[in-house]
Each structure stands twice: as C-alpha cells, then as structure tokens.
C-alpha cells in the first residue's frame, strides 16, 4: 500500500491542483485493477515496475515542452553565452584591478596583500562569468517565452517564408558590424558594472598631503541605489537588442523601431537622472571648488553646462543612431 501511495505522489507531484486529485484517484484505481486479489508487496512492485518511471508517466500526462531555452534558440544561446561571459569576465577583472590601482593597500604589496589580490581576481572571474550567464539566460528565457517556435522567424511570431531568408552575402548597407555590437556590449557591461558594483570608482582623484590618492565619488551612492531597478530593466532590454543585432547581423524595420524606442527611453532616463540634484555627491562639488578656487556660483553653473552638454551629445548620438538604423533597414 505504502509503495502505491509513494508512486502516485511521485507522478502527480507537480500537477495542478484540480488534475492532481483526479489523476491520483484514477491511477490508484488502475494500479489496484492490475493487481491480483490479496496481493503482496511483491505484486505491487512488479506492477509499478511495469508502469515505469513516475517522471516518464507524468510527462505522458502533461506533454508540453518544459525547458528554459528550446531548440530554436539553443545554438544562438550558446554562442552569445560564450561571448558575454568573456566580456563580463574581462570587465570584472578590469574593475578589480582598477580598484587596487586607485586604492592600493596601506601597508604596501606584502605577500598577504598579493594573495588577496589573487583571490579577488579569481572571484572576479567567477563573479563575471556568473553575472554574464545569468543575464544572457534571462534574456533568452524571455525570448523563448515570447517568440521562439522553430518554424517561426526569430524575434517575431510570424511564420517563416522564403522572404525571411537573410541576404547572402549580407548587403553592406544593412550590415550590423559584429565588432561594433561586441564593443557596445562591452561598454554597456562596463558602465552597468561600474554603476552597480563600484560607483565610487567614478570619482575625482586627488593627491592628499601625504601623497596618497584620494577619491571623491561623483555619485551619491545611496541615491543611486534607488535607480537600480530601472537600470536593470534597461540593461535587460539593451541586452535583448544586442543579442537580436548579434544574431540577425543586419538591420530590419522591427529591430530599428525597437532600437529607436530604446534610444528615446534611455535619453529620457539620462535627462531624469541628471536633473536629480540629489544624485550628485555634494562632496564632489566642494572638492572641485577647493581645487579650482571658483565660487559656488560659478562651479554650479559650470557643472550645469557640463551636464546639459553631455545630455545634448547623448541625445544627438541617439537620434543619429535611430535615424541611421531606420534608413539602413529600409534601404534595399
């Protein structure tokens, strides 16, 4: 009896509540039907052996695909995974080294400190690899659930037709340079990693009286925390676009439109963030004042001009990128 309970439980364990009870009851009745009268444990054993592994049976009851990344994207997933893990590892190791370069250990490079550096580098390698794998997997899992049937066009829910065949060789006007995509991926990872892991590295570096380096962070780190969630959302979308570019290799209209929407959104985000006075570390301002002998008034006008010049440059580049991608996608 015990054995039957365990078997039925194992089969129906992950079923939804309504079907769980019914399937369990039916399966139990069927098993009992297969047993002779006054059955022994051995009879039960044989019947269950005949029915086979509970996982297989459960799968027969519920034959749907249960995978994170299906066959449609698997090859792409692997190649992007390798690429991004490589990028993330380099970025994380780079940040670890920068961190050491700007904040060298107080008591010099002793063996203990070098060992620490070594351990930090190793953990940076693993940390980078894990972060990269996590984000790529997340993006592909989303892709898999929103598109992804093998007989469909990637990144859409449209049935494949010969019109969807990529140009061969890819028309130079439409081509998305792989190097460029990889480079922008690298920059995004670097920027996001800096903002999220070590925002204090974005700083003004000054020498103090004893000749040591002194860093005054640009951002108010606590205030920056409140932007983390939205930054992560942007990171995931940005990565989705990168992966899309990397896989298709040429501009098409939907890609160009998504790219444009993203550019508008990130421009707005940048403007919002730079308008947020609390995001700027107040110490940073006073540090600059100290070193330039300017009045608070001039410094803040100067900072403001700098900010808006940055915004203007960013917006112009975004507009340029959007327009050129749309033109490229339409050219034939």
């Amino acid at each position: 009896m015990k054995l039957i309970d365990r078997y039925v439980y194992a089969v129906t364990e992950h079923f939804q509540k309504e079907s769980k009870e019914d399937v369990g009851k039916e399966l139990r009745a069927n098993i009992e039907d297969m047993l002779p009268e006054n059955y022994s444990d051995k009879d039960v054993y044989q019947v269950l052996e005949k029915l086979g592994s509970p996982r297989k049976l459960a799968n027969e009851y519920n034959p749907r695909s249960r995978y994170l990344i299906g066959p449609g994207y698997y090859d792409n997933y692997l190649s992007v995974l390798k690429l991004v893990i490589g990028i993330c590892t380099i970025v994380f190791v780079g940040i670890a080294i920068l961190d050491w370069a700007f904040e060298p250990p107080v008591d010099g490079y002793t063996y203990g400190n070098l060992l620490n550096l070594f351990i930090e580098l190793i953990s940076a390698v693993f940390g980078g690899a894990i972060q990269g794998a996590l984000w790529v997997t997340l993006v592909f899992a989303i892709l898999e659930r929103t598109t992804g049937e093998v007989d469909q066009v990637p990144f859409s829910n449209k049935k494949w037709t010969p019109d969807d065949l990529p140009e061969f060789p890819i028309d130079n006007k439409k081509k998305i340079s792989r190097v460029e995509t990889v480079f922008s991926m690298f920059c995004t990872v670097l920027f996001t990693a800096l903002i999220c892991v070590k925002p204090q590295l974005i700083a003004i570096y000054t020498k103090d009286d004893t000749g040591g380096l002194n860093a005054t962070p640009f951002f108010d780190v606590e205030r920056l925390q409140s932007y983390m969630v939205i930054l992560f959302v942007f990171l995931v979308i940005q990565f989705g676009i990168f992966i899309w570019k990397y896989i298709t290799g040429s501009w098409n209209l939907p890609l160009a439109i998504v790219n444009t929407i993203y550019n508008v959104a990130i421009s707005i985000l940048i403007i919002v963030m730079l308008s947020d006075q609390a995001l700027l570390n107040t110490e940073f301002l006073s540090k600059i004042m100290q070193y330039t002998d300017g009045s608070a008034q001039t410094i803040s006008t100067w900072m403001n001009t700098g900010k808006w010049v940055f915004v203007a440059v960013f917006v112009v580049i975004s507009i340029w990128d959007s327009i050129s991608s749309i033109i490229k996608s339409l050219s034939r």
Binding site: E26, L51, E60
Partner: protein, 118 residues
C-alpha cells in the same frame, strides 16, 4: 546485427505510435476503464503499455474526444471512458484516413515487389 535489430524495433514502435489514437478510439464505442481496455487490447493481440494508455485516455478527454464518468457503485471507484459525439465524428474521419493510407501503402509496396521480381 544487434544494432540493426534495435533500429528496427525502435522504428516499429514509432510506426505503432501513430496508430495509437485510432486504436484506442476504435475500442471505446462502449464504456471502458483503464485496465479493462488494457486487457481488451491484449486479448485482441494489440497490447499497449498501461503507462502509455492511462495518460492517453486523459489527453483524449481533454481534447474532448472522450467523455468520462466515475463509477462508484463497485468496491473500488473506476473512471469509465467512451467516445463523445465529437469523438465519434473524429473517429470516422480518422478511419477513412487510415484506410486510404493503408491502401496506398499496400499498393506502393506491392508495386515495388513486382519490380523486384521482374
């Protein structure tokens, strides 16, 4: 030789798998429960694994080809299945498809055999 036999048996299983639904539908003009259907098919020399049949019955019910009812009058409750109205229509259509297919296949195979003997 062994691997060839394995291949043949796995291909045979695949051939049979395609006929499973038709096979099961054909036996359900009257109410049957899981194990009674296993026995019935065994007696007719068309054995089917219990572990395949039970889930299949449920899937066909979900597809509205079968209807079911619990019979609790006997010592142990059993779930009985039979063709639904929709199931009967589908069964007739599948039967036509099957006959056309098997006739065609038979013709093709015969033709091939005749060519060989020429």
């Amino acid at each position: 030789m062994d691997s060839k036999n394995e291949l043949v048996s796995s291909l045979t299983i695949e051939l049979k798998r395609g006929t499973l639904v038709l096979l099961v539908l054909s036996q359900l003009s009257t109410y049957e429960y899981g194990y009674s259907l296993v026995q019935k098919l065994e007696k007719k020399n068309a054995p089917i694994e219990a572990g395949t049949l039970y889930p299949l019955l449920r899937r066909l019910e979900k597809q509205k080809l079968l209807i079911s009812k619990w019979d609790t009058s006997e010592s142990r409750p059993r779930k009985f299945y039979t063709l639904s109205e929709e199931g009967k229509v589908v069964y007739e259509q599948l039967k036509t498809e099957w006959r056309a297919m098997s006739t065609l296949m038979e013709e093709l195979l015969k033709e091939e055999e005749n060519n060989e003997t020429d």
